[in-house]
């Protein structure tokens, strides 16, 4: 009798585990492509982007599989963004040595974030709303954004996170998210305008 009770309890737990595993698999299937694309846009290298996404999936499963499914999405993107930031820090560290070895005229000064801020109040012309821009070109425009703007834009606009969720994922204040996002949008608007002028 006791053994039967224990067996049914074990079966119940096993079924719950299988349900959780299926849910986790469905979740990973859902985010893997977008996660990869975000990593690729953030670091510009397919293989390294793939490694970062794989790493993020592994860590999510290792550490957070037991958490509630609705927590997986912010956790996954938080891990992925941490990896992206680490990658950039390492690259910056390597870059410092490379800059030290290279002549100074290689520096073009494009890293100044203030120089990249577009006019935040400019209205979007009607003709731009109807304009079809090739996906590849838009992807390149996103890729060209400064890292934090890119992250804020992709998390807010593409992944659909709220300002507070994006701030949690990016480990920054909500005000910073708003600023990064606004700058990203205005930069992308410029790309749309340039595309329109070429047509």
């Amino acid at each position: 009798m006791t053994l039967r009770v224990i067996d049914s309890a074990i079966d119940g737990i096993r079924e719950a585990k299988l349900d959780k595993e299926s849910a986790l698999e469905a979740f990973l299937m859902e985010v893997q492509r977008k996660g990869y694309q975000m990593a690729r846009l953030a670091i510009g290298d397919r293989d390294e982007a793939f490694d970062l996404v794989q790493d993020a999936m592994m860590k999510l499963v290792q550490r957070y599989a037991g958490r509630r499914p609705e927590e997986w999405r912010p956790l996954f993107y938080r891990i992925l963004n941490n990896r992206i930031m680490d990658h950039h820090r390492q690259r910056a560290g390597r870059g410092k040595w490379m800059r030290w070895l290279r002549p100074r005229h290689d520096e073009d000064g494009d890293d100044d974030p203030v120089a990249r801020v577009a006019d935040a109040d400019a209205p979007l012309p009607e003709h731009l709303l109807a304009l079809d821009v090739a996906g590849e070109e838009m992807a390149r425009a996103v890729e060209a954004l400064p890292l934090r703007q890119k992250q804020a834009f992709l998390l807010r606009a593409w992944e659909g996170f709220s300002v507070s969720e994006t701030a949690a994922v990016m480990k920054c204040s909500e005000g910073s998210v708003k600023t990064h996002y606004s700058r990203a949008v205005h930069q992308l608007r410029k790309v749309l305008e340039a595309h329109y002028e070429r047509r």
Partner: protein, 121 residues
Amino acid sequence: MKGDRHNPGRSVADKVTRALDEELEAMDAATLQRLNQAREAALRQLRRRSRLRWQVPVAALATVLLVVAVALNIHTGDELVQTVDLASAPPLELLTSGDDLELFEDLDFYLWLDSTHDGTG
């Protein structure tokens, strides 16, 4: 488009994300396969850990059961030894009857007594 006019920033975001979605849909098969393999590897790790989580309590339970079984077996073993001693003991009537027991204990005496009575009688 009405919403776009009220929120031009949103429409830029929509345009860009739509374009990114299209890129996503057109992802090449090789990349998709790599992503599927990475997902599978992560899930394998989860299954391995789940098995380990099952094995630890099961092994603990098995150890407890083994200890209980060994303890019971030792106790039963004592009883068996006792049974063997009883089997090699004298018949039960001899042990339960006080007179018979005396007869059995002094068997030599009674045999000598019988022979003496036979010789004298």
